[in-house]
Amino acid sequence: MQFFLGIGAILFCIGLGIVLTKRQAVMWLVGIELMLNAANINMVVFSKLYDPTNQLFALFVMVIAVAEACIILALLLMLYKQHKHTNIDQLNELKH
């Protein structure tokens, strides 16, 4: 069990690391997906321990993740059309 929790934690940290360091908005999406999957692993592990029905949580999370990915990708397309890049560190017109 610790092993899977460890994997979850590592996945989460990798996801967080990507979010905190990568300039590309797409990478941000990847990082978030990794974080969501880390949570999913935890969920499945704990469900096995306590109540198997709660594995359903992971299924719902996947659906939500897809929905979010759709929105972000659509947004990225629009952004690319307008700015010709998707680097979030260059998106700083709105500030202070």
Partner: protein, 497 residues
């Protein structure tokens, strides 16, 4: 796998169905909303022609009808609540156990109705192509928030949370503003980031508590027994998502940027309505936690630290703002700091009333502000000094500034007074709470310095600095009515007496 199809599971499933079947009556308000959403969707896809004005009015009519139906059912539910120990289990994952749940849902409903009215007038002035879409997303967000209040289980909580988030992402994407993409990108990415943190936190809370049904006493007992550092981390990660929705420090960053780029009418919805659901949800959590002092202390300290930071940061940064929308964003952050006070002191009598009244005044004021701001050109919003208004709108702005600052003779004063008087009960016996109380009081004085900018810019500007005159102020009528209400409200005194 074997277990999945075993008999007890099927039985429990059957039991659940039974439960759902019995409690369908309690879900009528949500059914009304859902019907509205479906009708709007049908309306949107059934017309091949470009959206027409008539279509937009139909959409508003559908929205209003479903909202009124919901209100009707909600008021019925509120009336049928027994006085002592009201607890209704509706389904395993949704339940009503507290009058605040129904009150907050009514507040949500009324807020959305108001949005509909202002939107209608706004429609008369500037016809918008995307109006059906707009109302569709508003209703979806409302449904999500409504279910959020009913949730008794982290799964339903997460689902409804995401439903409202996604709906608000779309709500902010409607319309065509300069830099809207950037604003939206920041909002969506930051929101997804916060919700991922929250989900990971929830998964650990599950691990620590052994259950995700947070209405059960066992859940809290196990949680209290959990090793404290893990608990703090899990709980703080969970709080990240909530803080994002509330736009409080340190998850407030999206607010100013998103507000600047988003259309004013969407902001009228996003800046006011989700907050009541989230805050009421936090108060409900607090009431479940009441029996577990150690947990409540930690949660209370976390909230107080966040409230303190929000009050200071929101009020001080707002001093530097010239852009009206950014100003309102920082003002929102500060107001959320104030609204956390009754949440922290939820254990003391009267917290719900104080909280609902404060929120109602704040929401009404923001509606006026954004309805008026919707009439302005972008360059006018970017610099307060270029505002151009009729006398009526100037007076309404004056009321907005006074009400946000908490000055008499507006309802904002009463609301602030209620919060401070109520929080004093806690501050009198608690050091951190006293610090928070004093900070809140002093930051109110700081806040005046920037709220006064609005009437100052309107009444004392050089004539040559004024921008182009605004278009037909169709939303002026409801805005002025609400402003008048905000002034008259002080005559009634505190409505819960």
């Amino acid at each position: 796998m074997k277990q999945l199809f075993s008999n007890p599971f099927i039985e429990s499933f059957a039991h659940r169905f039974e439960n759902i079947y019995q409690s369908v009556g309690f879900l009528l308000p949500e059914a009304a909303l859902l019907a509205g959403i479906v009708l709007l969707l049908l309306l949107a896809i059934s017309t091949r022609k470009a959206y027409g004005l008539r279509l937009a009015f139909w959409a508003v009519a559908i929205m209003m009808a479903s909202l009124f139906a919901q209100l009707f059912f909600l008021v019925g539910q509120l009336r049928s609540l027994p006085d002592e120990a009201p607890l209704y289990l509706m389904a395993d994952t949704l339940c009503v156990f507290h009058p605040l749940q129904i009150q907050a849902r009514i507040a949500l409903n009324l807020g959305a109705l108001l949005f509909g009215v202002v939107f209608l007038f706004e429609l008369l002035g500037h016809y918008r192509k995307e109006s059906v879409e707009w109302l569709f997303w508003a209703l979806s967000a409302l449904l999500g928030l409504d279910l959020l209040l009913l949730s008794a289980h982290f799964l339903t909580f997460y689902m409804s949370f995401e439903l409202s988030s996604i709906a608000t992402y779309f709500l902010l994407s409607v319309g065509r503003q300069r830099r809207q993409h950037e604003a939206l990108m920041k909002y969506v990415l930051f929101g997804a980031f916060a919700s991922a943190l929250m989900l990971y936190g929830i998964s650990w809370i599950y691990g620590l508590a052994g259950s995700i049904e947070f209405t059960q006493a066992a859940f809290w007992q196990h949680l209290q027994a959990a090793p404290s550092l893990w608990l703090y981390i899990a709980w703080a990660l969970f709080a990240a998502g909530v803080f994002f929705k509330l736009s409080v420090v340190p998850f407030h960053f999206w607010a100013p940027d998103a507000y600047e780029g988003a259309p004013a009418m969407s902001l009228a919805f996003v800046s006011a309505i989700p907050k009541v659901a989230i805050l009421a949800f936090m108060m409900l959590l607090n009431s479940r936690m009441a029996a577990f002092a150690a947990l409540q202390t930690v949660w209370g300290q976390l909230l107080m630290a966040v409230a303190l930071a929000s009050l200071l940061l929101g009020n001080f940064i707002a001093l530097r703002q010239h852009n009206l929308k950014r100003l309102l964003a920082y003002s929102t952050i500060a107001h959320m700091g104030t609204l956390l006070l009754p949440v922290v002191a939820a254990g003391y009598e009267g917290a719900e009333e104080v909280f609902l009244y404060y929120w109602a005044v704040y929401a009404l004021t923001l509606f006026v502000a954004f309805a008026l701001a919707a009439q302005q050109q972008i360059d006018q919003i970017a610099d307060l000094r270029r505002f151009n208004h009729t006398t009526g709108a100037k007076l309404a702005w004056g009321v907005v500034a006074f009400s946000l600052a908490g000055l008499p003779p507006t309802a904002g004063f009463l609301a602030k007074l209620g919060v401070f008087v109520h929080f004093w009960k806690m501050a009198a016996s608690h050091n951190l709470a006293l610090l928070l109380w004093v900070t809140a009081l002093l930051s109110t004085a700081v806040a005046l310095a920037y709220y006064i900018k609005i009437p100052y810019a309107l009444f004392f500007k050089q004539e040559s600095e004024a921008g182009a005159p605004a278009g037909a102020d169709a939303a002026l009528l409801p805005a002025m009515m609400i402003a008048l209400l905000l002034v008259l409200a002080i005559l009634w005194g505190y409505p819960f007496a």
